[in-house]
Amino acid sequence: MALATKSGRNTARPPAAAPTRGFWASTIGKKTVMAASGLIMLAYLVAHVTGNLKVFFGPEEFNGYGHWLRVMGAPVLHHQWGLWIARIVLLTAVVAHAVSAYQLSRRDIKARPTAYVHRRKGASYATRTMRWGGVVLGLFIVWHVLDLTTGTVHAGGFEEGRPYQNVIDTFSTWYGNVIYIVAMLAVGLHVRHGFWSAAQTLGIGNARRERALTFLANALALVLTAGFIAVPVGVMTGVVS
């Protein structure tokens, strides 16, 4: 067993805080919130990339899809209710994800205050970029909403209900393409570690499912990144115009 070394005042150092069984107080509880909210956003991204690819079938189909989002759930739901429910769920997920990520990261950094003098190569790139990648994604989400949902920072004349033209406007600027492509690479990396990690956090992962989960994580990351990036590439090459 571990040694409680007897030496002056260091003896039997008391724990830093009183133990608690609370859900949110626990690192595992917070991590569960992070995993669940991450998976909600991931499910949304799969639907989102599918919808985005309709841009390759012309303005009618793409704008029609945009219109459908507003009548989604009809006739049970009133106009735009479905869309607003989705927005509220997503906003809750983003906030829950960011708050748990922030609190856990603070704690993790505090738990390892001194670095080793002899540095060695750490974990995989995707694993090491979860925090900064997450921040990049958070900033991207803000820009993206202001660009294509509200039109506040949109390049050119933003027209509600004409998403096809709006998308072409955005991807006709160099910075629009750069921001978008960088963010989508970040999504791929984040999902690659995040999906697999969420499975472990929720206790779904085990040695037997290891290969299947890793494969699924890589496949999801690749499909999302490639699918999203196809749109600006389509605009740049003139396939979408």
């Binding site: 069984r21 595992i28 505090k110 206790g203």
Partner: protein, 249 residues
Amino acid sequence: MRLNLRVWRQKNGDAEGAMATYRVDGISPDMSFLEMLDTLNEELILRGEDPVAFDHDCREGICGACSLVINGDAHGPERTTSCQLHMRSFRDGDTIDVEPWRAAAFPVVKDLVVDRSAFDRIIQAGGYVSVPTGSAPEAHATPVPKADADHAFEHAECIGCGACVAACPNGSAMLFTSAKVNHLGVLPQGAPERESRVLDMVAQMDAEGFGGCTLTGECATACPKGIPLPSIAAMNKEWLRARRKAGRS
């Protein structure tokens, strides 16, 4: 063999520490890493200097005392304990860095010695089974399926060395805690305390100031006993299950 050592020296928990450089000569490749440090200490004592303090006890890889980060790796380059690491793993003329376990929950006591009593308190919180004492139980009264026995044994191998914490970029004790939760959780003897064990051990682990798990896998790579990474997922599952049960009762 002749080696350059860079060793962390720190007078006590409150003092500033720094790496100090030493040369050792006449090291046999058959020496263990600790015997090499003994050689250095003998020289330091002859020179009237303070010998390097490091933890050790069994020197056969079963007690978990020998806590050395060697060239940035907990227990050094081989998958074994520092005491079972031999100098043949290094080359003549090498420079070797030796540092203590680094984690907020494992404060340095002196040089390479850290206080790991946080682990003891995690075990005290729930890493036990309650048994009636007195008459010995009938050996065949509680059969354990082979697969469960194997699972328990695999996790009972944890020697509480703390290499998992030392290797983790978050100073997390999830692998250590999961070893005991997995070990006792599958056994019938551990069943009565199954829920309180995982809840209390995790609560104590958090209270000690260990970090959370980000599944980097450094712990399982460093573990000299091969406690596998999926044991953490299994503990998460146990914890969530215990929370659900606690919510119902």
